[in-house]
């Protein structure tokens, strides 16, 4: 169950402005009707893109971007892991935003997609910068908690637990959870409703 350590993520950025962008918008439910995650990358933001011709995910200037810039409460709503899966399959390896919905953040971590936060003005500044110069190279360092935008360094917040999991390569938790299975059995045998009342 080898996973890989994640620290530096380097590439161009793609800004998607707006608060409370929910997972139904990131990947509409009709694309969940499949038994794999394959091909989801082609449908990321599909309905938003259709409704908005200038959507960043339709803009060739952002093709190949690895770092997604977002505002507040990104990924709210449905628990569908298809949302971070679709982003990842499109090419995104990190999200920098003002805040993320909890399940989205957990799902992202579980597939090695780093979500880090920064204050509104910092995110806004980065968005403007990338909009003005889409080729701007961004480097996120998880260990240093820094985002470097072509030489301009800004601090980002990464929870200790997230940082440790990414750096140690334990973001895929299954191995860790099975490490000491006897302890799990021990807990099961002390929980009254499992043991039987």
């Amino acid at each position: 169950m080898s996973t890989r350590e994640i620290d530096r993520i380097e590439g161009t950025g793609i800004p998607v402005r707006g608060d409370n962008i929910d997972t139904d918008r990131i990947i509409p439910a009709r694309f969940l009707k499949a038994i794999t995650f394959d091909g989801l990358g082609d449908h990321v933001f599909e309905d938003d893109r259709a409704a908005m011709p200038g959507h960043p995910f339709s803009n060739p200037a952002y093709a190949g971007a690895r770092i997604l810039l977002v505002n507040e409460n990104f990924g709210s709503g449905s628990s569908r892991e298809h949302a971070p899966q679709a982003l990842k399959r499109w090419g995104i390896d990190a999200c920098v935003g003002e805040s993320f919905a909890e399940i989205f953040r957990g799902n992202s971590l579980a597939i090695g997609l780093a979500c880090v936060t920064a204050p509104r003005d910092v995110v806004g500044g980065l968005m403007t910068r990338v909009e003005t110069a889409p080729a701007t190279s961004l480097t996120l360092s998880v260990s240093d908690r820094v985002l470097d935008a072509a030489g301009e360094r800004v601090a980002v917040t990464v929870e200790d637990q997230v940082r440790d999991a990414l750096l140690a390569g334990t973001w895929d938790a299954t191995g860790l959870l099975l490490d000491d299975f006897d302890v799990v059995r021990g807990v099961a045998s002390r929980v009254p409703y499992v043991r039987g009342f």
């Binding site: 009707k33 038994i35 709210s76 628990s79 637990q161």
Partner: protein, 461 residues
């Protein structure tokens, strides 16, 4: 030391502290359905891992199933493939599945409580964000994604970060025509759609204490819409009475022992909360959403906020085609949907039927009633609710998620406006990318169906 229910449950289920600082939490009950699981089982297979506690996982089918013609194979080959995958996986790993031919089939969050699987003091996980619903019985219930479904199958545990607890006390008394749905829409409106991030919501106060389990389920269901992954109500006599005699509840003396343990898991008087919010129930009106997230609602007598207001109002109004400053009452609807894990239980159908009885659905409105489970459907039919609905011009359907998220044949067309008892008014949620959703209580949906527009249910009680 005084502890909250969340802390007690958390401590009891802690396996160990992981090297990452997260807690490995034992999951007492795992519920699965066809949408978020196929890939989880694939990952198990490719890693050569089995299901650790197959007897603690239960499966049903709800999201993709048609509510009209359920003959197999389904007309939609993708839906057929998903249900087939679930069937195959349950067979292979020894997990019980309540399929379409079962009396126990239904929306996962409806059947858990109904069967007595959901009990106080439990940890519950399900690959669905509305798993928070189960907190109504005093469980701590998490919505998870597919990789975490894999984790639970493999290890019956999850790597979790701790949660804060916000106590939300709703006191006073609700006016006639004001329901649990209105209470939770009010809470989300006040605290915001991200207000609950990092928190469990503990609901209490005289209004919540006085609620039935069905009503508490509605409130806890929408915790996630306020950003709180977990919502719960402390177990009390209402909870114990509800559970007595249910298929998976303990029996006889074991039930009494269970009750004393369940009682001990409730938050202690004087428990420490990270935050406390008080709401006067008497101030709550029937509520209606006008926007594209569940926090964007107003009382039915109020006006839609002006376009210049903060918080994405302009974007929402543009999508909804509504004018800021207009009253919400009188907004025309095309479709009325009573259903979803928020409001598809027997008591919800009774409230809607009470409004519909002897009336007619407006000619231009397509109206649907979709019971949350086969058992709800049967109970409703036993008291003639199906007749009431049919005579009023509502369609009476089979159990499932239906038009809540439209992964099945039930969906909006084009720009249709739907009065809906479900939980999400996101852009495109009900199947048409440009379709529009107005969330409200089942009684308000019924009233809107009859009038053909948003109506104050208090005027037709």
């Amino acid at each position: 030391m005084s502890r909250t229910l969340l802390q007690k449950v958390w401590d009891l289920h802690t396996v160990r502290r992981l090297p990452t600082g997260q807690t490995q939490l034992f999951i007492g009950l795992h519920l699965i359905h066809e949408v978020t699981t196929p890939k989880a089982f694939d990952m198990l297979r490719s890693r050569g891992i089995g299901v650790a506690f197959p007897e603690r996982t239960f499966a049903t089918t709800d999201h993709i199933i048609p509510t009209l013609d359920q003959a197999r194979p389904f007309a939609d080959p993708l839906a057929e493939a998903m249900l087939s995958a679930l069937e195959g996986n349950c067979r292979e790993f020894g997990i019980p599945l309540w399929n379409l031919d079962s009396e126990r089939q239904g929306i996962v969050h409806v059947i858990g409580p109904e069967l007595g699987l959901t009990q106080p003091g439990m940890t519950i996980a399900c690959g669905d964000s509305h798993t928070s619903t189960h907190g109504a019985l005093g469980a701590v219930a998490f919505g998870i994604g597919t990789s975490q479904v894999r984790d639970v199958l493999a290890s019956q545990s999850l790597a979790m970060s701790p949660l804060k607890v916000r106590r939300i006390s709703v006191d006073g008394e609700l006016a006639a025509g004001v329901f649990a749905k209105d209470v939770v829409l009010e809470i989300i409106h006040r605290l915001g759609v991200k207000g609950g991030v990092g928190h469990a919501y503990e609901y209490g106060g005289s209004v919540v204490d006085g609620m039935s389990i069905d009503e508490r389920l509605t409130v806890c269901n929408m915790s996630i819409e306020g950003g709180a992954r977990v919502g719960y109500v402390n177990p009390d006599e209402t909870t114990f009475d509800y559970l007595r005699g249910r298929p998976f509840a303990p029996e006889g003396e074991a039930f009494d022992r269970a009750v004393s343990w369940w009682r001990s898991m409730a938050s202690d008087p004087g428990a420490d909360y990270d935050d406390v919010v008080a709401i006067d129930g008497a101030e709550i009106e029937p509520r209606v959403t006008w926007g594209i997230n569940p926090g964007q609602s107003v009382g039915v007598s109020q006006r839609i906020p002006a376009a210049g207001s903060n918080g994405g109002v302009a974007e929402a109004l543009e999508f909804m085609g509504l004018a800021g400053g207009d009253p919400i009452r009188g907004t025309k609807i095309d479709v009325a949907f009573v259903g979803s894990c928020t409001n598809s239980r027997l008591s919800d159908l009774r409230e809607a039927a009470r409004i519909a009885k002897g009336q007619r659905v407006a000619r231009h409105v397509k109206a649907l009633v979709v019971p949350g489970s086969v058992a709800v459907r049967a109970a409703a039919e036993a008291e003639g609710l199906d007749q009431v609905f049919r005579e009023a011009g509502f369609e009476w359907r089979g159990a499932g998620c239906s038009m809540c998220l439209a992964m099945n044949p039930d969906r909006l067309e084009g720009r249709q406006v739907c009065a809906s008892s479900s939980n999400r008014n996101f852009k495109g949620r009900q199947g048409s990318p440009t379709g529009r959703t107005l969330l409200m209580s089942p009684a308000m949906v019924a009233a809107a169906a009859l009038a053909g527009e948003v109506t104050d249910v208090r005027t037709v009680l």
